[in-house]
Structures are given as C-alpha cells and as structure tokens.
C-alpha cells in the first residue's frame, strides 16, 4: 500500500473531512443520531456477543432460554395456582393457570432483564467504556436487545402451551402483539438507561436492583391474578406501575380472557404508554447527563 485511499465503505461522502469538536458540554445533551446510525453494526455485535457468551460452558446451553421461564411457570402454577388455590380466581379458566402465568412472563422477562442485565451493563463493561469511545447508549440497549430473542422463543412456547390448554385465540388481538412488544421495549429501554447510569454513579443499585425486580413483579401481578385486588380503594396505585398495563394487555391479547380475569382496563394501557414514554426520556436524559463522566466515575 503506497497511497492512502479511503475505504469504499467509509460512510457518507465527506466522512474523512468530518470534524469532531471536543469541548465541555452543558445542560441537555442531544443524541448524535448520525453517529448512532453510523455504528449501528456495533449494536448488532454487542447483542451477538452477549448471546454467544451467555450459555458458554453450560451443558444445557441455549436450553436455558426455554428452561428458565418454564421453571418459573411451573413454580408459580404449583405454589400460587394449586397450593394457594389462586386458580379459583380465574373464573372459567381455572385449569389454564399455567398459560396465564406464561403469557405474563413474556413481557416480564424482558423487563426483568432490562432491570438486571441492563442496569449492570455499564458497570460490567467499564473496562471498555474507560478505554475507548463509542456510542455508549448501545451498551444497555444491547442488553435489552438480547432479551428480545428470549422473548421470541418464549412466544413460540406460550402459543403452543395455549393451544394445548384449549385457549381460544382472537386473531385480531394477536395482531396487536407487535405494538405491545414495542411498548414493553419502550419501558424496558427507559429503565435500562436510567439504572445503568445510576449504577455507575451509585453502586447501591447493584443491591437494590434484585429487590426492585421482585417488588415490581409482585405489583405487576405476574405470578398471581389481578383479581386479588378486587375493589380495593388502593387500586388506583396500579396506574403508577407502567408494567401492570403491559402485563394485563399481553394476557388479554394472547389468551383472549375476559378483562375481569386479566385485570385489563384502557386506563392502565394509557398509563403504560405515558409512563413508558416518560421513563424512556428520563432514562435517556439521565444517561446522557452522566455519560460525559462515565470514564471518571466508573
């Protein structure tokens, strides 16, 4: 090689002449979409690496993707459904408690991964963050993105299980699922951005996160029916948990159970949408504010 030729795929024309200005930033920091788009392959590689590495040296390997929710489902069905007799709360669907739980695990698992893996993602990868610059927003994004593949596998299982349990699907409602997945992603990304940035700053979140995850699972009624709440005067508090609406909507769309069983109501869906957008923007804001000092405080 004697002369320097810019690689044919070096990006947009004038890429070589692109000027990078490095100076202190103040206040709200926008997102550099151009840069994000330019290195979008990195997101793909980060997700791919996580998937590749996650089950290495595990005898069951990818089998764990299936086993984890299945074991959760069996546990919840036995403990809450049968032992505690909560299956009686599913009026007309008493023997479908397992699908009822599984349908909720779909969005919940994604959200739980966003909280745990997403929240710890930056701290876990601080050796990279401290040594090289790249769009760091991709780190928590990749953690959530990886969970999306788990969700796809779980979806196949839940549909099979539902068919096996004689659930009568509603095609129209099933078609709404992609939108619900997007809504779950909105919430999950928001919480991953927020927690990952906070964890870098305050390591307390490392201990707080598993606890938060547990509490949220209870108040999202993943393992037991929302009918338990009945007409409590505290029911309005559910509006402040965006995941409640998501979980209820998933049950409604996949299982086509009546709202009295799934606990679905339009106001909860609206709370999820508004809450999700709020969470997403707050998460993004906190992340970008903290990002300029990640390397110093990590």
């Amino acid at each position: 090689m004697t002369t320097f030729q810019p690689p044919a795929d070096a990006g947009a024309p004038g890429d070589a002449e692109r000027e990078t200005v490095i100076e202190p930033t103040k206040g709200w920091i926008g997102i550099n979409w151009r840069e994000m788009l330019h290195s979008r392959e990195l997101l793909y590689f980060l997700i791919w690496r996580d998937l590749k590495v996650r089950y290495k040296q595990a005898v069951l390997g990818v089998g764990w993707v299936v086993l984890q929710p299945v074991m959760n489902m069996i546990l919840f069905t036995l403990v809450f459904g049968s032992a505690a007799g909560l299956n009686q709360r599913l009026k007309g669907h008493e023997n479908q408690y397992s699908v009822f739980v599984y349908a909720a695990l779909l969005p919940w698992q994604l959200f739980a991964t966003a909280i745990s893996s997403g929240g710890m993602s930056l701290v876990n990868q601080q050796n990279i963050v401290k040594k090289i610059y790249f769009p760091r927003l991709y780190v928590p994004t990749a953690a959530v993105g990886g969970a999306l593949t788990d969700m796809a596998i779980s979806f196949v299982i839940v549909i099979g299980l539902a068919a096996f349990k004689h659930v009568t699907f509603s095609p129209l409602l099933l078609l709404m699922l992609p939108l619900l997945v997007l809504l779950t992603l909105l919430n999950a990304l928001g919480v991953a951005y927020l927690l990952s940035a906070l964890t870098v700053k305050y390591r307390d979140f490392r201990f707080l996160i598993p606890f938060m995850s547990q509490v949220l699972m209870f108040v999202s009624f993943v393992a037991f029916p929302p009918a338990l709440v009945g007409n409590s005067k505290w029911k309005w508090l559910l509006l402040f948990n965006p995941m409640y609406g998501v979980v209820a909507a998933f049950r409604k769309c996949i299982l086509n159970f009546p709202d009295s069983v799934t606990g679905f109501a339009p106001q909860y869906l609206i709370s999820s949408i508004v809450g999700g957008m709020l969470l997403f923007w707050v998460g993004l804001f906190v992340f970008r504010r903290t990002e300029r000092n990640f390397a110093d405080i990590a």
Binding site: E23, N127, Y133, D204, N293, A295
Partner: protein, 418 residues
Amino acid sequence: MKPIITVDRLGKAYTLGHTVDRHATFRDALVHAAKAPIERWKRRFTPPEKRADAFWACKDVSFEVNRGEVVGLVGRNGAGKSTLLKLLSRITEPSEGVARLRGRVASLLEVGTGFHPELTGRENIYMNGAILGMKRVEIKRKFDQIVAFAEIEEFLDTPVKHYSSGMYVRLAFAVAAHLEPEILIVDEVLAVGDAQFQKRCLGKMKEVSEGEGRTVLFVSHNMQAVSTLTQRCVLMSKGRMAMVGPTPDVISEYLRQVGDATREQVYTAAAVPNKPKITRVELRTSEPNNVQMNGRPMEVHIELTTPVPINGARLSFHACNTMQEPILYFWCHDTEHPMAREAGTYKLVCRVPKMRMFMGDYTLRVHLKEQAGGKEFEVLEGICPFEVVMYGRDREGGWYKNTCAYLEEGNWDVSKVG
C-alpha cells in the same frame, strides 16, 4: 490546509476530596442531601473546575498537528499524557478548552479492549473491530491480513482465554493496526509483547504514517521509539504543556527532567598533602543527565593535584559496561603531553569527537600511575555512570541491547558478480 488536529487551551479538572463530592453510596448522598441541602446544591452545580480543591490533570494544552505527521507525547508518569489522550479520544469530556479533529479517529489506549475471553480469535476480531469503529465488510476484507500479522492461523477457532499472553497481544494489536483511520491515537502499546513483536508494531506504525499518510499521536516512555517514529513532540510536565518542538530538543528536555538525581555526575575528592590525587572527574555527555547519544561528541575533564613532582605521570581511563568489562581505553602519558613535573593542579581534557559505544549503561574507571613499573597512585572504579542511547539513529528493525559493544562506521559495496 488546516491542521488535522487543533488543540486549544484544553484542560481537565478532577475533584480530589471525594468525601463530599462523590458519594460513595446512595445513602451518603441522601444523608448529605438531608443535612445540608443548600451546601449540597451549591456544590452540585459547581463543576470540578470551579471548586477550590480542583486538581488539574492537564491544563492549558495547545498544539497543532498537520496531516501525515507523527507526533510524540512524552513526559514523566502523572504528567497528564494519558488524560490528554482520553480527552482527544473522547473517553472523557474536557473541563475547558476545545479540540478539533478533522477525520476519522481511532484510539488504542489499551491493547485488547473489548476482547472477550470466551469468544474465539475469529469472533474477537469482528467484535474488537466493531468496537474500534470498523464496519463488518471492512473487517472481512482485512481479515486475512490481520490473521497473518498476528500469526494465529492455527488458533483462529480457539477461545482467546486459552491463548498465551503473547498471542493475545499480537492479535489485539493486529486488529487495531489494520484500522484505516486518518488519525491514530496510540498509548504505550509497545510496553507489551516481546522484542520481536515490538519491532513489528513499530514497523507497522511507520508504514501507516509514511506510506499511507496517516496522522499518528503517540505516547511512549520508550525514547528510542519516539525518536525513530516522530519528528515533533509535545512534552507534558505536571499537567501543563512544557514544550512543543523537534523531537531531539524535546527528548533532551525530557531527559533533563527525568534525570536520575542520584547519579553522581561529577566526581570530586579533596587533595591530600602526601601523594598525588585525582581531585575531579567530569563527564560531559551530549545530552543532559549523563545521557550520551551514540555518534555525538563527548568530553571527559579530569583534574589531578599533586604535592610533589611525578616521575613520568600516566593517566588513563576506561569506559566499562555493567559487567565491568572495559570497552574503551584512553590514555595520557607524560612522554607525549608533559604534565605534573612539578607540584600543582593539572587539568586534562579528553575530547571524543564521535562516541561510538553501543547503547547501554557504562561507568568510568580512572587510573593514575607513575612511569611503567612504578607506583600506582590511584584507581577510581565505577564513577560517572552514564547511559549511551541511539536516539535519532534509525535502523530497520530497531536496536537491542548487547548486540555488540561498539558501533563503527562502515561502507558497503554491493554488486552482482555472477
């Protein structure tokens, strides 16, 4: 043409007293917030640079780098070099000032950033390339070159956790070296790897800058590497920019700064009333702090004081290596340069026009004697330690200690005879 890198009064402040500013835990933050809200908010909105206890890791750094130039960044540990590189590679944000980089930047602050031990060599090449900012097609195109450079063909599909450290470093450097950035920022990567590999890395960096017209910003404590790779250097000292200029000048200044204060540069002794004595030996090296550049002049100034006339005085000195093996011999005899024929102090100066000893550490051994077969007055051993360096003398493949003891000039004639 505009300079490819313009740095203007760049600075980065850190807060030293982390007890108040950086709350170790969330609880601390809460407690503090409750206790002294006003104080806290006041501090919260006071950036480090405005605080009384601010520590400036680097400040007021301004320089320019032209396209295709290789610029060295030198200085002692803690001088702010790494902070400066972190700022320029956007890992952390400056507290003040501005830097403009015109072109694609790749930084290599640590070899093997983003390598995952569980992934195979092949997988890590793609992963590492992506983190360094390469596109997949680009990595694919360079793949064979990278593998060849790293010499890991056989182990391509082995997880890198089973690699030897040498293989690991080779692979990591190979990926980074095959990036095609307009600006390459490199920090002390040559500190790792064996001599053979360091040689290839240096060669590759030279190829990148000379052959392909890239701009390289290069941090190293290895002055040999700095002197052969760069034409211009920035010297950092205590967070400030101490000097910008041609490499030899900056290296001289750097050597003066890092100089070993314990090195006795001048030997002195008091005269005694009853016998001749060497009272002073001063070595004048070409660089500060007893560092001698190979091929440059060197002087040895010796004073001897005698209370009585010496019969056929002979003064000589050796330059010895660390094994105390004599490498050079210089002498001054009364028969050629009449001296000490009456009591008094005499000064003898030995000028070496081109000091050709090979790189390494040396000391002087000085003898003072009478005529042959006579008395030996004094032998001084291991005085005036000095180091011979090869800075600025380039050789394909670099220099290694103990290759030889002495470097003579020679001319080659090559012709085809058959």
